[in-house]
């Protein structure tokens, strides 16, 4: 039998229900938004006979908005941003609780995720 006082203490260390709900809503918006853009982009590409195969430069592709391929890429980018936004939300939550070490750890994870942006061809 677990000690009820310790159980309550440990539950208080979890993400609180409000932040948890915000996180879930935010993830839903980003993921479903991403899926909608990808499906829309694919539909446009199929209808117009646009060639979407093969990797290409991101910036050049986005300049062609709202082409099928660019919408699909935008959808993917929104989906890929989800873990970054999620870790930023956690960093904010830890900061509000005054947990400096965990705030720094969460921000370090964000920095690691974004380090790929520094790459050059």
């Amino acid at each position: 039998m677990s000690d009820p006082t310790e159980v309550e203490h440990l539950r208080a260390q979890r993400l609180d229900p409000d932040t948890s709900s915000i996180q879930r809503k935010m993830i839903r918006i980003l993921v479903w938004g991403s899926v909608v853009l990808i499906v829309l982009g694919q539909w446009i590409a199929l209808r117009s006979g646009e060639h979407v195969e093969g990797p290409r430069d991101v910036v050049e592709t986005l300049r062609t908005l709202p082409s099928g391929r660019s919408l699909m890429l935008l959808g993917l980018m929104i989906g890929l941003a989800t873990p970054v936004v999620r870790s930023l939300l956690l960093a904010g939550w830890f900061a509000r609780r005054g947990e400096r070490a965990m705030t720094l750890i969460a921000l370090a994870v964000v920095a690691i995720m974004l380090s790929g942006l520094l790459l050059r061809h």
Partner: protein, 285 residues
């Protein structure tokens, strides 16, 4: 079917969606991401080039992690503190691994990682039940960072005190280097590190691993995206298929028996280990 994408794009997309749904389901259920299922599916069934499939697999892992998190109740199982701590080490280590990849033979690494996966399968088979750590003192790091947790199960709340944090962190460092060198998410080692070394409950370990693999794969995906290596024609349908599969897998985690969950994990890790050893020995291309 190498030309299916050109000859019948709709059938190609639907096939990718089906493969991705299966990968998302397994990936979110056992916290491994599903790349090990997706890449062979895309390459062998649809003739997708290996590089394109690997890039799509990274995208798939990010979507698996995010879609799994959309299920209510998941947050009570995820130990974000442990996940973030281990992810910092794994992330830096994977960058080191990627940078030093050219210095070590890929075959030797595949042999090593394949062997490691089989050892993990063996360790998982040996301990099919969670260890009760509620009576053991927490590790000092665990107290400082408040890593201990409580898992709500059918039998009521179960406290766990996170053990051997430096060992778990060290294993994550080694796993990160190997993952960076081989371009893998190393979800199996993440689960092992939490379950066997840090004595966390298996369910919490898989769910926390799911959170972590999203961050690891996001780092790789951002790099692939920056270099223009992500093909939307493959990664797009993969993302669309992954979401329902991962949501279903996530919903199943707290409903499936612990023993069954461990058995699925064991089978998948053993298969991936054998696959890697066969690749290293040249039997599989």
């Amino acid at each position: 079917m190498p030309d299916l994408q050109a000859s019948n794009p709709v059938l190609f997309d639907l096939t990718v969606v089906v493969i991705a749904t299966a990968a998302g389901f397994i990936g979110s259920l056992i916290g491994l991401g599903g790349g090990a299922l997706l890449v062979p599916g895309l390459v062998m069934l649809l003739g997708v080039p290996m590089k394109t499939a690997v890039a799509a697999s990274l995208v798939a892992v990010v979507f698996t992690s995010s879609a799994a998190a959309m299920i209510r109740g998941r947050d009570t199982l995820t130990n974000y503190r442990v996940g973030l701590l281990l992810e910092t080490v794994a992330g830096v280590a994977s960058v080191i691994g990627a940078v030093t990849a050219l210095m070590v033979s890929a075959t030797a690494l595949q042999f090593t990682f394949g062997g490691v996966l089989l050892v993990i399968a063996g360790l998982t088979m040996r301990g099919m039940q969670d260890e009760d750590t509620s009576g053991q003192p927490s590790h000092p790091w665990s107290r400082a960072l408040r890593l201990d947790g409580v898992e709500d199960s059918a039998d009521g709340p179960r406290i766990y005190h996170v053990q051997q944090v430096p060992l778990g962190v060290s294993i994550m460092g080694i796993a990160g280097v190997i993952a960076g060198m081989l371009g893998l998410g190393a979800g199996a080692v993440k689960v092992l590190s939490m379950d066997i070394c840090m004595k966390m409950p298996f369910r919490s370990s898989t769910v926390t691993s799911n959170f972590m693999i999203g961050a690891t794969a996001a780092a790789g995906s951002v790099a692939f995206l920056r270099l223009g290596l992500i093909d939307p024609a493959v990664a797009g349908p993969v993302a669309v298929g992954i979401v329902p599969g991962a949501m279903l897998g996530s919903w199943m985690v707290s409903r499936i028996q612990l023993r069954s969950l461990r058995l699925v994990f064991l089978a998948f890790v053993a298969l991936t280990g054998v696959q890697m050893l066969l690749k290293a020995s040249g039997v599989l291309s």
